[in-house]
Symmetry: C2
Subunit: 355 residues, 2 copies
């Protein structure tokens, strides 16, 4: 097992990463009271709920099972968690445990942030995506029909337990979507890691546990480093959104859940790279290397056919990075270094959107 | 005009209290971006919205008008604020302004805490209750059918502007309900202020502006002092909930909005005092003095006839002060000093509930 700490002063917390590490000894030290609410979904519950429950002896444990999918990440389904917490009389010392992917993690985190104005929570992410992305950094929340993740809170867990053994039951498409974010870390922050990914992409797609563990550890390290520098996204943290402004537009346009988040990020990253290329920052070879890596990971490299430039403009205008009416984008200065800027050619952006 | 500061480190903020102080010069220095969303209700909008809008020149101002009343303080109506923010493309630099009573303030504050994971907000409380209570201390949130204020956040405003001129349009019943909390401050924290209230209660009920201003200023000072010592209610802040555990049970049982919050707090405070009396902490004279003060303020001193001890026990068991299954109550050690304790006779509590 490996561990690292997300350094956020009094809100610091550890991430444990390993194989078959779901155990009482690791979890219970982080539970203060005697009540626990496990939040999971109807795909994960049959697979791992029993294993988790065995790690929680002597505690009053209740369970909320949500329907699986991004389309249920809304206020209505968030309220199911509050219903259950109140029906079961959970008090301020309760601990929420998120067992599932990013949707379960984000919703449970926001429920924990808001229930009685804040209770503890623990994340047990069960997808590649949630292990490397939503479990680090405390962004919690739900979607609104007019924009993704528009309602939420910055709220840190007590512990993240990333058990890579659960990937044995992860569908191929989910694996690939998670690897899109792993590739993103190389692109924005660490050229050496990007090169390592080029060498090891076949092993990752084939689910080699040792290679997967290295990729997850390095991704979490990068995200933790970035978040520690900028918890509330005043600056460098926005780098993590490479491909996300385009990607969120794709997800919203197609209807939440149709495109997986990572798939939209892959296509969105290629759009950000096309713009970076036309600004003269990246070379055609740089773009080819990223495209090849996404293709080997079985990820889409183009946005959906049915989206035009007007769709993108409309949906991108609600992005959280809009500042006083101006859309800032995350672009690449070079492979391994991102930049957040509104200083790009609008004409070149339009050409990318209409391509 | 008087002003005081709620001292909370980097989250400190000023409260301005005065007559006819709604003005551009006081508000605009606290607005960072160029977008403002005013949230108000359909009672207050016709009275004061135009005056406020004149204080916001050169800004893009949108307005959300909520239905008036505690029964609308829920996730469904909270979402109306998010709808409007997104429809009008408000970004992270927007400022929400709450123009209304406690319901508007609590909902706007929680919307500000949650929209894009946190934007600025300003409180312009228009009732006695909200000027002395919800505007100080950053408790925001909405109700759940199973419990009051169960969903929310601690989130501080940039500014509170308490203009007592708006009391000219405040219904008598609302005035009295607000004064219940003013009396509470004397009871829990400041015997001298309690005596001052006994002397000045007729002036308060008659809406003498100078007396009202003194009462509001002293109440805000006390609340600010308490909150500065204990922002997230680990200790002394719970004193502010004198009468609230009983009171919330009354409000929930009767249906939100039937009993005004302050009315429920008055009856609840008399129950807490009855228990304090039977514990031997208060004298019968102490209880009489408080009863007289509530009566002169036209407040109820008994819970509703249709509530029995089972109703109270059921509803009080979800109170946020329940700790590991044990209900802590705010009682009085003496006039002017509260105590939070689970160390009371359960038998005596039952006698109070069944009285």
């Amino acid at each position: 097992m490996q561990s690292l700490t997300v350094e956020l002063g009094e809100r610091s917390y550890p991430i444990y990463i390993g194989q078959n590490i779901l155990s009482e000894a690791l979890i219970t030290p982080f539970i203060k009271g005697n009540q626990v609410m496990v939040v999971t979904n109807d795909t994960i519950a049959p697979l791992y709920l029993d294993t988790l429950l065995k790690c929680l002896p002597g505690l009053t444990v209740d369970v909320t099972v949500l329907p699986d999918g991004e389309s249920f990440k809304d206020l209505t389904h968030l309220n199911l968690i509050f219903d259950k917490l109140l029906e079961c009389r959970h008090n301020r010392t309760t601990t929420l445990i998120a067992l599932g992917g990013g949707v379960v993690g984000d919703m449970t985190g926001f429920a924990a942030a808001s229930y009685q104005r804040g209770v503890d929570f623990i994340q047990i992410p069960t997808t590649v995506l949630s292990q490397v992305d939503s479990s680090v950094g405390g962004k919690t929340g739900v979607n609104h029909p007019l924009g993704k993740n528009m309602i939420g809170a910055f709220y840190q867990p007590q512990l993240v337990l990333a058990d890579i053994s659960v990937f044995t039951t992860l569908p191929d498409r989910e694996l690939s979507a998670g690897l899109a974010e792993v590739i993103k870390y190389g692109l924005i922050y660490d050229y050496t890691f990007f090169c390592w990914l080029e060498e090891n992409i076949d092993g990752l797609v084939a689910r080699d546990p040792d290679i997967l563990m290295q990729a997850i550890l390095r991704s979490c390290e990068i995200k933790a480093e970035v978040v520690a520098q900028d918890e509330k996204e005043g600056g460098i943290r926005a780098w993590l959104n490479l491909g996300h402004t385009f990607g969120h537009a794709i997800e919203t346009h197609q209807g939440y859940g149709r495109w997986l988040h990572g798939e939209a990020v892959a296509a969105g990253t290629m759009m950000a790279m096309a713009l970076s290329l036309s600004m003269g920052w990246l070379s055609p070879e740089d773009v080819d290397r990223a495209r090849t890596l996404f293709e080997k990971t079985n990820l889409p490299i183009l946005p959906p056919d049915n989206m035009g430039e007007d769709d993108f403009l409309e949906l991108m205008s609600v992005d959280k990075k809009v500042l006083n009416g101006e859309l800032r984008l995350v672009l690449l200065e070079t492979l391994g270094k991102a930049v957040v800027t509104a200083d790009y050619s609008k004409e070149k952006l339009m050409r990318v959107l209409s391509a």
